[in-house]
């Protein structure tokens, strides 16, 4: 049927009017009124990751138009892979189901680990309440590494960590590779408190740690029970308020090593991100992203977060989160070196 111009104009008019009406806009933005948003955690309840998310909930409810109810579901397993698989493959992309895991789910995908059934480039990242940090390499005083020169000359230093592939293990290996250490031994299988006890009773000589852990045990430094040697700032160039230590990157000898350090930084920068399934309508993503941005900018958020989590937030905004994922170095050589660093075998040659 041929439709003439006046008739098309006649039919199009109501649509145009409808689109221009505030009520229509209201209906879109009010999609969440009376709805329930499910946050799928890739972790067990109760840990610091859980608290990071919980610290945001009342703000998100305030800033999402329609003030939806927000509920938490926990799907631990595979360092966040199980939850990410669910969000990618099974969750309905309606803006009512979003995921939040530790950054391990990003690393698992980039490094090609088993059990990854999601595509990082298709998931929609919505930001993270924390991103920047400093990692510090320390030794117990009894190990005799009272200076960087001595640290590099000691053979067979025992470096403790949680498990092969754990962020703390990877960073310890990265320190050992770039510093470099002489024939270091990596002892894994510790929880964080076990590792602290092992350091203090001489079972291990060294470990890498996030700066907040060192700050919580600041008496180790004050009482000269440990020596601090090196640091990696995430993001690059971030100064530490308390410690002035050489950045590991200053010891990198080649572009290849700098790329590996950059990969580590970007992986870490993703923090514990929120993400939505591919295909979620853009207007709902926009609403969620705006609510998360407003939450991070709310002056009451930082003190609330600190009270609940015990640390200052270092937000990664939604667009920064997407960019950090996009800019992750993915060239084969860097990935291969990183995989060798994150694996159980000997350190890669420099």
């Amino acid at each position: 049927m041929k439709v003439n111009v006046p008739l098309r104009a006649f039919l199009g008019l109501p649509v145009a009017v409808l689109l221009s009406m505030p009520a229509f806009t209201f209906a879109q933005s009010n999609f969440y009124a009376g709805k329930t948003i499910r946050i799928i955690h890739g972790r067990s309840p109760g840990g610091s990751g859980d608290l990071r998310v919980k610290s945001m909930v009342s703000f998100l409810q305030k800033y999402i138009p329609g003030n939806p109810t927000i509920v938490h579901e926990f799907m631990p397993g595979g360092g966040g892979r199980k939850a990410a698989n669910y969000i990618f493959g099974s969750a309905t992309p309606d803006g009512l189901t979003i995921g939040n895991t530790g950054g391990g789910m990003v690393a698992s995908a980039v490094l090609g680990e088993k059990g990854v059934q999601y595509d990082l480039d298709k998931l929609i990242f919505l930001g993270s309440p924390y991103s920047s940090t400093h990692y510090i390499f320390l030794t117990r005083r009894g190990a005799g590494a009272t200076s960087l020169e001595k640290l590099r000359s000691i053979s067979g230093l025992r470096v403790g960590a949680q498990s092969v592939g754990h962020t703390i293990y990877n960073i310890g290996r990265l320190f050992a590779w770039v510093a470099p250490l002489k024939d270091p031994k990596f002892v894994t299988g510790y929880s964080s408190p076990e590792r602290d006890a092992a350091l203090l009773n001489g079972e291990i000589d060294a470990f890498a740690s996030a700066d907040d852990h060192v700050m919580r045990n600041i008496e180790w430094v004050r009482n000269k029970r440990v020596d601090l040697h090196l640091m990696i700032a995430v993001p690059k160039g971030l100064k530490h308020a308390e410690f002035d230590l050489p950045d590991l990157e200053t010891f990198a000898k080649s572009e290849k090593e700098r790329k590996v350090i950059a990969l580590f930084r970007n992986l870490r920068l993703t923090g514990s991100p929120f993400f939505a399934p591919p295909g979620t309508p853009a207007d709902r993503i926009e609403i969620l992203a705006q609510a998360i941005t407003k939450t991070f900018k709310d002056p009451e958020f930082a003190p609330h977060y600190k009270k609940l989590v015990g640390d200052d937030p270092s937000p990664l905004f939604p667009e920064e989160n997407q960019r950090a994922i996009r800019e992750l170095p993915r060239d084969a050589e860097t990935i291969e070196i990183f995989n060798r660093l994150a694996g159980p075998g000997p350190l890669p040659p420099r």
Partner: protein, 513 residues
């Protein structure tokens, strides 16, 4: 400002005796009681996670009262499920099912609950007292135990499993080996190697011990009731005795309570052991150290209830020693407790001992008072709850299945856990039917992962020289002596009924059907 420990103790007590603090403690006790009676999974960590955003806005001592009240009593009241339904309670109360359920079935639920609460209350007080005494000198105790010493302790535990086999040594060893094999499933922490994962994300972290224990003990109990109709409808088991029989039993066995409480405190103090082993170690110790009536274990011996319950409740005191005095969280719940303390401006560890000793003593007092209150509430509720043992099987069986499935689902909220719980439940039923001891399997599962971890760490840090460490040698001697005495005890036994330390439980549980 630093104050003397005596002044701190007095100030800590005065902090507690305020109406709002006492009310908060009472509210915590009520919450803890509810979580203990509810299906497992609604444990202390989840309760803490829910309460934390609220309590950090309160005054510190009031918030501490609510949190400690909830956690200290949840262990005391964890015996309801194992005794009344044959379903293992939360971790730390699983071994109670071995003797608690047979007692419940023969009409002694009140007695078992009485013993459980009394032992739990005393354990809690002993744990609290240890915490109070440990404040000046906790550090050396914790650093004494390195990976080599912990490996020997686990080996000691495994030697207990070997003798659990009783009249069926081969079946016991097969069950224990199967448990060890199950412990290898998932990503191996030390090497990162995937073992028996078959590219299934569900298996990346292995099987949950809570779910397996729930399955192999809970489902056979329910199936047994459903298939044989031996529920109290046909043979109503009269509720004989009273709660005070259990109290008297516990007081008569005061030395066992003391020993097992110290086992619990020690497990709580040492980083990494956790509540998964505490009840089993205490149970094994009870059977090994029993001078008479070893054959009664597993058939409803009250000592089999007293030992795990006293140890489980004393463990909380040990947990707090490490948490408060060194700043090491011993699990999710204590990690959250540390978060709360940090939010209030306290830094757990030596600094807190120096600067906020009064708050530590307030924790001690609240822990003790909560233990007493929880025990009393337990006694009050037990009178009514014990009557559940007389409910018709046609009502009880669906309720039991509901609790089991809810409990399994609550652990990870993963529907696949329901498949696993049913599969292992069927396996548990047949293990029971054909005399394969299920506790041996669970112990293999619990100890397997820990042994591997400690052995790996010992070898990686010390090579073979760890075998020459004095503490290792002493512990090896203890383990060997204990093992030999156990074997001698069995050899002296008469005929086929001769039982080994934990053998009774294993064999009896296997023989029941």
């Amino acid at each position: 400002m630093e104050i003397s420990l005596l002044d701190a103790a007095v100030k800590g007590l005065l902090n507690v005796f305020q109406l709002k603090v006492l009310l908060a403690m009472l509210a915590g006790v009520c919450i803890g009681t509810f979580t203990a009676v509810a299906p497992q999974g609604l444990g202390t960590p989840l309760v803490y996670a829910i309460l934390l955003p609220v309590v950090i806005k309160w005054e510190p001592v009031t918030g501490i009262a609510l949190l400690i009240g909830a956690s200290s009593v949840s262990a005391i009241c964890a015996a309801y499920l194992p005794i009344l339904f044959g379903i293992p309670g939360g971790s730390g109360s699983q071994a109670t099912v071995l003797d608690g359920y047979p007692m419940g079935k023969r009409g002694e639920a009140r007695r078992a609950l009485g013993a459980s609460f009394m032992a739990g209350g005393l354990g809690c007080l002993i744990g609290t007292l240890t915490l109070a005494l440990a404040i000046p000198a906790a550090r050396p105790l914790i650093y004494l135990m390195g990976s080599p010493e912990l490996f020997v302790v686990m080996l000691w535990g495994l030697s207990m499993v070997a003798v659990l086999a009783g009249r069926r040594p081969l079946k016991g060893l097969i069950a224990a080996a199967f448990g060890l094999l199950l412990a290898t499933i998932g990503q191996q922490a030390q090497s990162g190697i995937m073992r028996f994962v078959f590219d299934q994300p569900y298996l990346l972290d292995g099987f949950s011990i809570s779910i397996i224990a729930l399955a192999v003990f809970g489902i056979p109990s329910a199936l047994d009731l459903a298939l044989t109709k031996l529920g109290v409808e046909q043979e109503p088991a009269p509720l004989k005795g009273s709660l005070f029989d259990g109290v008297k039993d516990t007081l008569r066995e005061w030395l066992l309570v003391l020993r097992c409480s110290f086992v619990g405190v020690w497990v709580g103090i040492v980083p990494g052991l956790g509540s998964q082993v505490v009840d089993w170690l205490a149970y094994g110790h009870a059977v090994q150290s029993a001078k008479s009536g070893k054959e009664n274990f597993g058939k409803g011996d009250v000592r089999g209830v007293i030992a795990p319950e006293s140890a489980n409740d004393a463990k909380d005191g040990g947990d707090l020693v490490t948490t408060l005095l060194l700043g090491f969280p011993q699990g999710v719940a204590t990690a959250l407790f540390i978060v709360a303390l940090l939010a209030w401006g306290f830094v757990p560890g030596p600094e807190m001992v120096k600067k906020n000793a009064d708050i530590i003593y307030s924790v001690v007092w609240i822990q003790g008072l909560s233990g007493i209150t929880g025990t009393l509430i337990g006694f009050i509720l037990a009178q009514q709850l014990a009557k559940l043992a007389q409910v018709r099987y046609s009502i009880m069986v669906p309720v039991m299945f509901l609790f089991i499935l809810m409990g399994a689902f609550a652990v990870n909220r993963d529907p696949l856990d329901l498949v696993v719980v049913v599969a292992f439940g069927i396996l548990g039923y047949f293990m029971r039917r054909f005399g394969y001891p299920r506790p041996a399997m669970i112990l293999g599962l619990v100890l397997g992962e820990l042994m591997e971890r400690y052995l790996y760490r010992s070898m990686a840090s010390y090579g073979f020289t760890w075998l020459t460490r004095p503490a290792v040698i002493v512990l090896l001697v203890f383990a060997a002596v204990s093992f030999i005495m156990t074997l001698r005890g069995r050899a002296k036994g008469k005929g086929p009924e001769a039982q080994s330390p934990v053998t009774g439980a294993i064999a009896r549980v296997g023989d029941e059907s």
